[in-house]
Symmetry: C2
Subunit: 330 residues, 2 copies
Amino acid sequence: RYFHFCKLPGRVMGIRLLRFTSVVIIVLLLVAGALTALLPSIKDDKMPNLKREPKAPSQPALDAFTLIMQTYNRTDLLLKLLNHYQAIPHLHKVIVVWNNVGEKVPEDTWNSLGPHPVPVVFKVQTVNRMRNRLQNFPELETKAVLMMDDDTLVSAHDLAFAFSVWQQFPEQIVGFVPRKHISTPSGIYTYGSFELQSPGSGNGDQYSMVLIGAAFFHSGYLEDFQKQPEAVYALIDETQNCDDIAMNFLVAKNTGKSSGVFVKPVDIRNLEKDTNSGYSGMWHRAEHLLQRSYCVNKLVNIYDGMPLKYSNIMISQFGFPNYANHKNKM
Amino acid sequence: RYFHFCKLPGRVMGIRLLRFTSVVIIVLLLVAGALTALLPSIKDDKMPNLKREPKAPSQPALDAFTLIMQTYNRTDLLLKLLNHYQAIPHLHKVIVVWNNVGEKVPEDTWNSLGPHPVPVVFKVQTVNRMRNRLQNFPELETKAVLMMDDDTLVSAHDLAFAFSVWQQFPEQIVGFVPRKHISTPSGIYTYGSFELQSPGSGNGDQYSMVLIGAAFFHSGYLEDFQKQPEAVYALIDETQNCDDIAMNFLVAKNTGKSSGVFVKPVDIRNLEKDTNSGYSGMWHRAEHLLQRSYCVNKLVNIYDGMPLKYSNIMISQFGFPNYANHKNKM
């Protein structure tokens, strides 16, 4: 019947043709629309959208840590160390405690050299105090804190390992610098390191503190630190020293165990001689060690007892850098 | 009046004299008796009575351990090692598992060379089986067991330290010989030591077992071992091997953690070349290591899964033998 359409009157054929072509056009448009929807979106020159989208909220609290680094008069070392520490595995954020009162934070420099792997927050301080770093910073989101002095460089391997050790001993200060106190017949304590007589019976040494200038500890202890007797703050402010000894007292009292776990560092360096500032750190003061013994005795007074406990456990990373670190004649 | 006694009649004087001398004699005897009582008792040539009295019943269970040493065909090494181990601090008792079927225990020799610091019990076995040492011996009174192979000499310092470490990790096998398993793409496991690829990402090595031939563990695990599937005993008996791998599976399943904690020994020696017997130990058999891989896979089958977990924690004694073991450039 369709072969004979030319015989039909013009008007009828026109309408049929119109319908037919309309249908064809509509079908073609639908197909084109479907194809367009399936095409990949045009990529731009910058990083793909996917990476710039904020990550789905993960759980930073448990498997990451926050670096807290207090700094005074060594901005060159600070920036050098930030370049190193910003890349440590499992680092969530850096909090810089800016003790350079009246001086501008290097935020513009930092931002102009971005992007950075992690956010850095500069906390401007109004007074240059040693205990500024022990505030309970609202920016802290992780359970773990890594506290570092602004002249100390610890290798990424050491930090990754020590963090894994902290996760097994979360109540304690897990770090790289052990110290001890000893008792003397008079009952007066002295603070020191290996050069002091061992508290035990000549069978190796013991430590009773792990310094917080290169250590992991639970962020909850910063909260606890805010609730200490006023005399503790007065002592730290008077000496501009001993905040770390006070933290060890706090932790020991809290756990009834030794306050720290010593992890032997493979690569730890003190950069203070590398600074342009000429500033060489509090521990060079003549009275530094005597002050620390003084602090131990004052704290025993304040806390009405000696809570520090001894340990002789030294932890190293099995087979790192190689198996020689554990081979024996067997 | 007494000056005139010679004037009195003989009888009267005799009686008075008699009384007088009696009194004098009695007084002298009393004085002598008092002096005798105050004299120190005569020391004999052997150890003073005080030391040979049995100690007041203390609490051996918590701060002492029992040494269990299985022995086969190396009685000369056994006796040499007993002389050494009998003097380890905190040792409560020694249990010798006598696998020399049909041969008399050297009890007479042992007794004739007494006294000894601790009691030794010889457990005669009827069949020479590797797993004989994993019985729940009724003589066991302590929470801790020290298990040693009969050719292994570990220094007293190492043992005293490792015991103190076990007290901090009582659920785990704390010892001196770490081993691991690795997974291969086929899902088949292989057993080995440092020569195998690290299970991690090239960042040091890991271990997943601590061998019980030189280790401390909780005596409760001997009780648990009696309740394992029959197939486990059959496997150990078939191979005369792998009892230690089975124990690691047991502990790992029990704790959900790594079965062992490795303590790096300062002085550990294998004495097998020193034996007169010419017997050189199971691990020299050609198929020994292949057998242990076989055991790992069989045990995964029996326990329906791989419970072993990795650890890279290596523990050493702080400042022993001297501070050089922890000093650094800081």
